[in-house]
Amino acid sequence: MEILVCERRVPDTSENEIELNAAGNDIERDELVYSVNEPDNYAVEEALQIRDRVGGNVTVVTVGGEDDEEILRRELAMGANQAVLISDESFFDSDGRGIATILKDFVRKGHYDLILTGVQADDGAAQVGGMLAAMLDYPFASLVNSIEVEDGKLKVSREIEGGNRELNEIDLPCVLSIQTGINEPRYVGMRGIRQVASVPIPILGASELSTDHVMVGVAAARVKRIDYFIPASGKGAEILHGSREENADKVLELMAAKGGLK
């Protein structure tokens, strides 16, 4: 099975102190460390496991700049067969529809049976997967937390409200957005990354993908960020100030009162 995983490099929320910049239109990016968006990493692991079960290839792709190559290399070290960096000045600051358009053009250049994305990026809007499927006219399932490969189709289960699951059958080719927890992604150590240090990662631009400029870039974006702010603390939170035992009793009491304990 030919599997494509679309991924994205994001500031790692567990290793950064996210602060607004002075202008208030973005976060302070000077000392950030980045990593692959967590759900995307689960998607890559899932793709690798499917490949190891049924054969085929796993390709990872990201739309970005040269800094984004590091996550592709990490996924190569994890076991992906190839990686592609899509980068073009005209793509900068595309909105979700723009990114989906770029990816659609890339998918059309190859043959993929299965396309995976993470359920959403830490700094994203959980829209690219669905739009990409629509543009390709492929079936789409979101929040997928298990995949079983059958002949020409998949059985996928999805997480629904309250921790329940539903089981769906979906025809190939299709697009799935992968929920965290679907698997336990393998560890990539420094040694693994060093071993793929010299693997070439092709860079494709607008001309190679024959992307329509009208659809991408900042000018084509129909959704524009106009502000970035930390919401004022609301009144919903109650902070308990008693001793440990008193607090524990109080929490139990509150949970019982709100119906959290049965």
């Binding site: 790692d12 290793e15 460390v33 990593s35 560890y187 420094m190 040694r191």
Partner: protein
């Protein structure tokens, strides 16, 4: 042996006795050589291990640990029994050899064992055989009646080993009885014939047999003699050839295991012996994934294990109900070797060890505290094997999710918490520490001492207090010190011991450059894990001391004086951190500091010094979520309470984290507290400006 009466002279059998016994000798020895050769096959396919250096030092250790049985008395009863059996075997070796030869050549006497000395030897060995026999009886009774818990085999690890153990004890007992009966029937025969009789040691087993046989007919004596001889002969060779199939193989292998045992404490084996760090990229696979990835010495360890259970008995992970018992790390590997390298037939394809004989949780459960190695009478190594198995899992990407985040953070931020580098020195910001300014080391600072803080003490709110106390103590005694601040990264001690060698090397290289750029001539740290890393894992950096050593020296020199601790109703117990105590043998310094506080009441826990009980492990172990029945720390806190202490003093930030947590988990808040040695010293020392307040201040805790 006296006289012309010998089994070798049997002539009325189908073949003459001499030929029969010669055949048994040849067959027995041939079988033994064949079996041992087969046992050595996996060692020839194993990884390299460079253990041929320092022969004199190694011989010295053979005298101490093998001939001297140094570790045995740590378990008094079992140890005494073993020392007696061992001494008996050593003494009886020449006698057994002579007895075997007598079957072929009746007048054979071992060179040097004739005449007066020979008589003394006979008397001594009469007693030796008796003592060994009695030891077998006592050992069998222990196994069958008293059943010490450490011999039990948990259900997950297979069947009980009691039957095999008792069978082996029985064989040795039979050997001793046959030997004694042979000597006694000889003597009785000589008495009846009026021939000169060798003296049998009074009240020894041969002597008692002689008394019993005194009235037997000559024919009966002849039958008894030949039967005893044959039984001795067959049992001897059966035992010789059976030993390589189980725990008694250590009779043959222990000498070599001990000669080749690891010499340096606190160190780790390299990924591959003989491959430098620069060439590691060319190594195809890291660590131990299949059996043949072990080194030959580690395989020899598997053969040498005597299944005495002391390692597991002292293992804190085992005590806490984690799925790890060092004993079965060895036994399972040995059984694997027996199965896959059979005595008859060819070796089969090796399977991955993880998932086959070991589980992932089992290998991650080890805190590398070293209690097992400290206890093992045969110096079997465990930490290196565990780390090698982890290297293999890391190489395969097989790492628990709970460890992946801290490892990734160590890679990108140089600390397992993912905190910003620039905040590493926040604990020492101007104003944070009363009466002490902490310099950031650079070429200009020119500080003599570098205080290596390491991650937990830099970032953890609670442990920062240890950093501040250390800084205050250093300035109190007038030492000129600086810290690396943002330029310091995690020492990588646990990174290495969790098997992530390349990440460790990158941290080490970074720190080595930063340390050397600081121009410091000495390094001081309050973290035993950092201490061990800087001392053993790093090369070409200035010498390193733990703060307890510095304090002990300054106390001795009179530069630190303490306020008295009378009247505070506190009883202190010092908890030895594994990487200060067992791995680096620093037991006395912290205790001498505590004892220098006038009136401080200190008790020892039953498990202290080299038998200290790990609090739960440091570094990445704080992130790992083990499967366990209870916390090691809780067990440790209870041990302190049992010793009558209400304050646990430690000298390690990880011990502090584990023990303070454990006090809460055990519900002992208010009854038990924990304090770091630096905090105690900082609170108790007499500051120059406040000497007059001496009487009014009490010791904190």
């Amino acid at each position: 042996m006296v006289g012309t009466y010998s089994p070798s002279q049997i002539t009325d059998w189908l073949i003459p006795g001499r030929n029969l016994f010669l055949t048994i000798h040849v067959l027995g020895v041939a079988c033994f050589v064949y079996i041992v050769t087969k046992r050595l096959v996996p060692l020839t396919r194993a990884e390299r291990d460079l253990r041929f250096d320092q022969p004199l030092r190694r011989l010295g250790r053979v005298f101490k640990f093998w001939l001297g049985q140094w570790k045995h008395p740590r378990y008094k009863l079992a140890g005494t029994i073993h020392i007696l059996i061992f001494a008996g075997f050593i003494l009886l070796a020449a006698r057994a050899f002579s007895t075997l030869i007598v079957g072929v050549s009746e007048n054979f006497v071992m060179p040097g064992l004739s005449g007066r000395f020979g008589h003394i030897y006979d008397v001594v060995t009469d007693y030796a055989a008796t003592v060994v026999f009695l030891c077998m009886v006592v050992a069998a009774i222990r196994r069958l009646v008293f059943k010490p818990a450490r011999y039990a085999v948990p259900a997950r690890s297979g069947k009980s080993h009691t039957a095999d153990a008792v069978f082996l004890l029985g064989l040795i007992a039979v050997l001793m009885v046959a030997d004694s009966l042979f000597a006694a029937s000889n003597a009785a025969h000589h008495v009846q014939q009026g021939e000169p009789v060798e003296t049998l040691a009074f009240l020894s087993m041969p002597w008692m047999f002689k008394v019993l046989l005194a009235r037997m007919t000559l024919t009966t004596l002849w039958v008894a003699n030949v039967t005893a001889y044959l039984v001795h002969e067959l049992t001897f060779y059966f035992l010789l050839c059976y030993r390589p199939f189980g725990i008694q193989f250590h009779v043959e292998t222990s000498l070599f295991s001990i000669y080749f045992a690891k010499l340096e404490r606190g160190t780790l084996k390299p990924v591959r012996w003989g491959v430098s760090d620069e060439h590691l990229d060319q190594v195809k696979s890291f660590g131990v994934k299949k059996f043949e990835d072990f080194t030959w010495k580690h395989m020899l360890d598997f053969y040498s294990c005597a299944d005495c259970g002391r390692c597991a008995d002292d293992c804190p992970a085992n005590a806490a109900g984690r799925p790890l018992s060092p004993r079965f790390i060895t036994i399972k590997a040995r059984d694997y070797a027996f199965r896959h390298y059979p005595v008859f037939g060819n070796p089969d394809n090796s399977k991955p060890l993880i998932g086959n004989i070991y589980s992932e949780d089992e290998i991650w459960s080890c805190t590398t505290c070293g209690a097992c190695e400290e206890e093992c009478p045969l110096l079997v190594e465990y930490v290196d094997k565990i780390v090698d198995l982890r290297r293999g899992m890391i190489d395969d990407g097989n790492v628990p999710q709970s460890l992946q985040k801290p490892l990734k953070a160590l890679e990108s931020r140089g600390n397992p918490y993912g905190k910003m580098e620039k905040k590493r020195a926040d604990w020492s910001k101007p104003g944070e520490i009363e009466g002490c300014d902490v310099k950031i080391a650079d070429a200009k600072s020119g500080a003599d001492i570098l205080f290596f803080v390491d991650s937990i003490t830099s970032y953890d709110d609670r442990m920062q207090s240890i950093a501040r106390s250390t800084a205050r103590i250093l300035s109190h005694v007038g030492l000129d010190f600086a810290i690396l601040g943002a330029a310091e990264k995690d020492s990588g001690h646990e990174v290495r011991r969790f098997g992530e060698e390349m990440l460790f090397q990158s941290l080490r290289d970074h720190n080595t450059d930063a340390i050397n750029a600081s121009g410091a001539r000495r390094i001081v740290t309050a973290d035993p894990h950092a201490y061990n890393a800087l001392k053993h894992d790093y090369k070409n950096i200035p010498p390193v001391e733990h703060i307890s050593q510095v304090i002990a020296k300054e106390v001795k020199a009179g530069n630190i004086q303490f306020k008295p601790a009378q009247g505070d109703a506190k009883v202190y117990a010092y908890h030895d951190p594994c990487y200060l105590g067992r791995h680096n043998q620093i037991y006395a310094d912290p205790r001498s500091v505590l004892d220098a506080v006038p009136g401080l009441k200190r008790v020892e826990m039953k498990r202290s010094r080299d038998r200290s009980f790990c609090c739960g492990g440091g570094g990445l172990m704080l992130f790992y979520e083990p499967k366990e029945e209870q916390r090691m720390g809780v067990l440790r806190v209870r041990m302190a309470a049992e010793a009558g202490a209400n304050v646990i003093v430690t000298a390690c930030p990880f011990c502090m984290a584990n023990i303070e947590d454990a006090i809460k988990v055990a519900g002992m808040e208010g009854k038990m507290s924990a304090i770091d040695l630096t905090e105690l010293v900082d609170q108790t020392l007499v500051r120059k400006e406040c000497t007059e307040e001496l009487e009014t201040v009490t010791v904190g805790g």
